[in-house]
């Protein structure tokens, strides 16, 4: 499995063009594997075979050419379904359109913000079709390709052709939209977007200045990266639940249930589902008291996910972060718990603090790499903000749910939420404004 993953990684980093060379290696390895009796040789040749399988699997799933290739650079009009949740960015909305004639060749369309499209709508978009290009330090092409996006259409004009009727996923989408609106109505801006970010994983409408402040104070992972935060949610929820329930199995099942609900309201997108599976693996391992045995399980889960989509291994930061976060929770957290054994534990605050910090530490190197800056102030910022994240999530969830019944009810719960999130945002902005907060490279 490891070799297969290694092969996928190899293929992700370098374009393996020399087919015959690899083919030759493969034949020799296969030959040795079949006839040799020496266990060492057997093992190595098996490793090579699996690595090559990874390399080929990656290549096999990547389309060689596209129907839409002919239209690149031209002004075109395309009809297709809105295939993912629309992303709102100040004056614009970003839609992932699956064209009717070629649904696997998705287009990332930027259109005016209004009218807002819904997931599942059929839209007609017109504009100039482009191919994505890589940035200096960022493989944008593959980053998009992992979600089957191969084309861009900036500055397009979008009109609604027809609305999708019914459907479970679409119902889910509207539920989430209502949920988000309940929060927006009860809580002032930008606190409301922050709450949507931490509990729904949506980073729509977070002002640019605030986003930059998050990055330079080193806490952007709380909202920015899809999936990763759900791992933390699962752990926090199980901690809170264990405070109320004596039975450990009740806690386990309830936490798994809550994680499942979260997956659903965030739209059950692949990245969130992947993160949830990894989080769930840890919860179950904890239940059986075999926390340290979670690594093989995790690798197996990753292996299955990579078979389905080989591109996530290298190009999905959310996937990598979830993986590391779970490792952090399983292997770093016990260390901290031991060190802080004598500290008093109010309402499991200490434990949630420990989990947050250990998950943090585990993903830190990756976060540094992906944002191209090193936040010196990050440990301080995280220490001040993270312990209150579960509380903010808890109230955010209540506000969103209460909004379905009464706006006034939601507002009452929004007061403590306002206090918590205002404190968090104040810390973020205060710490980010120091000139030495972050080193950019």
């Amino acid at each position: 499995m490891l070799c297969f993953i290694g092969g996928v990684a190899l293929r992700s980093f370098v374009f393996v063009g020399d087919f015959y060379l690899f083919f030759g290696f493969g034949v020799i390895a296969l030959f040795l594997f079949s006839f040799s009796k020496n266990p060492k040789v057997l093992m190595y040749s098996a490793a090579v075979i699996f690595s090559l399988a990874g390399v080929f699997w990656y290549g096999a799933l990547e389309p060689a050419h596209f129907k839409l290739d002919d239209s690149v650079g031209k002004k075109v009009e395309i009809e297709g379904k809105v295939a993912e949740y629309p992303e709102l960015k100040n004056n614009a909305q970003r839609l992932v359109i699956a064209p009717e004639e070629a649904p696997r060749e998705r287009i990332l369309v930027t259109a005016k913000r209004y009218p807002e499209f819904s997931f599942g709508d059929t839209a007609r978009v017109s504009g100039a079709l482009k191919k994505p290009e890589n940035f200096e330090k960022f493989n944008y092409v593959q980053y998009l390709a992992k979600d089957d996006i191969y084309f861009l259409m900036p500055f397009s004009d979008a009109t609604l052709v027809k609305e999708e009727e019914g459907g479970f996923l679409r119902g889910l989408y509207f539920f989430r939209k209502r949920f988000e609106r309940n929060i927006n109505n009860a809580l002032s801006f930008p606190q409301s977007t922050f709450v949507s970010g931490i509990i729904l994983g949506s980073d729509s409408d977070i002002p640019k200045e605030l986003k930059e402040a998050f990055i330079s104070s080193g806490v952007s992972h709380i909202t920015a990266l899809s999936g990763y935060n759900i791992t933390i949610i699962g752990i926090s929820i199980s901690l809170i639940l264990s405070y109320f329930f004596a039975s450990r199995s009740a806690t386990l099942f309830l936490s798994l249930g809550v994680v499942a609900v979260f997956v659903l309201i965030t739209g059950a997108s692949p990245s969130v589902t992947r993160a949830a599976v990894m989080g769930a693996a840890l919860l179950i391992a904890r239940y059986f008291g075999r926390e340290s045995g979670v690594l093989p399980v995790l690798i197996f889960a990753a292996f299955i996910m990579i078979i389905f989509n080989p591109k996530i291994l290298v190009f999905d930061i959310g996937f990598q972060m979830s993986f590391l976060a779970v490792l952090g929770l399983a292997y770093i957290a016990p260390f901290f718990s031991k060190k802080l054994e004598r500290w008093p534990d109010f309402f499991k605050l200490k434990e949630s603090f420990v989990s947050a910090i250990s998950a943090q530490l585990a993903v830190l190197p990756l976060a540094l790499l992906s944002f191209n800056q090193f936040s010196i102030i990050a440990p301080l910022a995280n220490m001040l903000i993270l312990p209150f994240i579960p509380l903010a999530m808890f109230f955010g969830f209540i506000v969103g749910a209460a909004g379905f019944f009464s706006a006034h009810l939601a507002q009452i719960f929004a007061y403590p939420l306002w206090l918590i999130t205002s404190y968090q945002l104040y810390i973020v902005e205060y710490l980010a404004h120091f000139s030495f907060a972050a080193i950019k490279f």
């Binding site: 100040n90 004056n91 005016k112 913000r113 209004y114 009218p115 807002e116 609106r181 927006n184 109505n185 009860a186 002032s188 801006f189 930008p190 606190q191 409301s192 409408d205 002002p207 109010f346 309402f347 706006a407 507002q411 007061y415 403590p416 306002w418 206090l419 205002s422």
Partner: protein, 284 residues
Amino acid sequence: MRKFKLYLTLSIIIAAILVWFAVFYSLPDGRLKFYALDVGQGDAIFIETPRKTQVLIDGGPDMKVLGQLSAVMPFYDRSIDLLILTHPQEDHMFGLVEVLKRYKVGKVLITGVNYKSKTYEEFKRIIKEKNISVTMARAGQRINLGGDGIIDILYPRENLSGVDFPGDVNDSSVAALLRFGEKRFLTMGDAGIKEELDIINSGQVDIDVLKVSHHGSRFSTSALFLEKTTPEIALVSAGARNSYGHPHKETLERLGHIPLYRTDTQGRIIVTTDGKSLIVRTEL
């Protein structure tokens, strides 16, 4: 159990502090506040009377208005009594769509002039969806804000609802004169010289605070208009380093010695009055 009591006491103390904060805040202090919000290249004016009646005139070109409103309104306040759209151009209207979605808006005042834009359609759709009462602006209307605040509509002369406005849509902007005690504030969206002439010809308009039209464009704020209206101070709402070069050099020259406050260099502007004198503060 002891722990539980501790948490309970702590929560009650925090709740008490918040409630008292709210109570003190909502006590009338006899002052009216007039804010030129910092929304970049666009307009957004927020008015709060001593009895906390709130009016928002225009909403700027993007989402910035939401953050600005959070800064000038108390955290528990999720309603605005009156919303005025001077004219349906993006830099005045865009932010209002989200305001309409997120706040409980009492009434909306618009000209209803025809204008082709998707944002305008969304604006009207939300008003309809939330069933908010709409008034078509017309000169002669008077809106009583309670607590001595009064808004008089000076322009447009006719009901423009469903009308294709002949000429520049800027000249269809609602002109609103706010009166509190002896002090008068005039805002008129992006009105050009033509609309200004119409206003000064229709009667004597002596004002104290002028929200300079059209971000300080040179086609607004004529010397004659300034001579007739004699503002004590002037406010300009424009974006820092905007591509239009607003406010224009010629306009600044015409404004001459009138003390000028600008959102592009000074951020949000707050004019407070007890009806007799003006106090101006700026964010930066």
